[in-house]
Symmetry: C2
Subunit: 251 residues, 2 copies
């Protein structure tokens, strides 16, 4: 179905398929809006050049506060000759250019959605990283893995293997993960009716996808049959497992 | 204007007037909806008995996880013979019983508003407490002050005077407060247009009042001319000062 007007979605490959929580946010967004697109796979060392060649500005800076930091997801829309990066910015672009498709950030919800995403980052993403980052490294193709190991070492001050929690520490940190999700669970109505942020099972919005990208991370990296996914998908009346299930049609 | 059908709002008095961030959330809510009400002032040691006499259930438990913890704000609505406590629950009640008045929690925003409130608690309220709790104690009437000092000592493990940060520590913690507000600031569009959570200057919602209750705390406790209020109201392009100003009509 792809032709020269098909939107292009840039993602990072691995030995286990699509794995990046950040690019998942945009994959979910594109599928939710029903916009046809073609995926182009870019290994880590090639991200910067790929975006520069497309004239896409970096959305962030490195830790020195000035060197541009080029990241995926990115999209290029031949219909408008627009390329951009960063999943929230992409969601807003898609809403603006495709207003007749389902809306990711309904009017009046932008600040609230950003607060939701920030709070889920503090309570869940920051804790889950130690478990997932090592699995990511081991799953990447060779060129990306070398790049990923080197840049994470610089950023975190430890190797992937040192990051991965072991023994008692692993149990404690896994408990913290459950507690963090428990705080998020309190925002939702008790019982089973509230699966998505804006209520019910039908009306997804960008905040759902932003959070789900990190929850589905566990399923993708550890596998559907793993103890890890059984835990996460089962906690809090199976709220998180049901969330991923409800969003499955946008995978 | 009060008659036997006027809604009653229970608040905690002090030497400096209305001071409680939690009851401010409900005062703002009632004024926003334009519901006539009468304020009844209840000193701390009388809160439990007052609510029990009204048949109002506690909304929380003490740190043992089972003893009911009776708190204000509370309201009693003679029109429906309903009494309840906890500002979010009160907001939802008011929306349900008075749907023709402006809506505090528009459909689809409940989870998002709770996430916003939770995130502002982590980033702002938890840091500001050390500065405000001592000022609160010094401002309460004698009976409430004795109760407040005793229960805070139990909860925090230190006296009010030990909590109040001094010297270098005060400067560091004040800097953390600015940084926490800086993280909240990032959720809003840059520039001056975005003052309220749902956008613009007109469309307030409960999340605005929940956060504003803690921001106005600084102005009330330290005074309009204090260095503290000048700092907070001036940070981040005066976003917080302007927020309080925009909400002034609901004070």
């Amino acid at each position: 179905m792809s032709d020269e007007n098909t939107l292009i979605f840039y993602d990072i490959p691995s030995k286990i398929g699509a794995w990046s929580p950040n690019t998942w946010k945009t994959r979910y967004s594109l599928n939710f809006k029903g916009i046809p697109y073609k995926t182009v796979w870019v290994e880590y060392p090639d991200i910067e050049k790929t975006l520069k060649d497309l004239g896409i500005a970096a959305s962030a800076t490195k830790s020195d506060g000035k060197t541009p930091h080029y990241t995926l997801p990115a999209i290029y829309d031949p219909a408008t000759k627009t390329g951009l990066t960063e999943s929230f910015a992409i969601a807003k672009y898609l809403d603006e250019k495709y207003p007749d498709k389902p809306i990711l950030v309904p009017k009046g919800t932008e600040v609230l959605q950003k607060a939701y995403i920030d709070a889920t980052r503090d309570k869940f993403v920051e804790v889950v990283r130690q478990f997932t980052i090592p699995k990511v490294a081991w799953s990447l193709n060779e060129r990306s893995q070398e790049f990923f190991r080197r840049t994470r070492k610089q950023r975190l001050g430890k190797t992937i293997e040192e990051l991965d929690p072991q023994g008692e520490k692993r149990k404690e940190e896994w408990k913290k993960l459950e507690e963090g999700l428990g705080q998020i669970d309190k925002w939702y109505a008790s019982g089973k009716e509230d699966i998505l942020v804006m209520g019910g099972e039908d009306k997804a919005c960008f905040a759902d996808f932003a959070f789900a990208g990190f929850v589905i991370w566990i399923r993708i990296l550890f596998g559907k049959e793993s103890e890890e996914w059984k835990d996460v998908s089962g906690w809090h009346s199976e709220r998180w497992g049901r969330m991923i299930q409800v969003l499955e049609k946008y995978e």
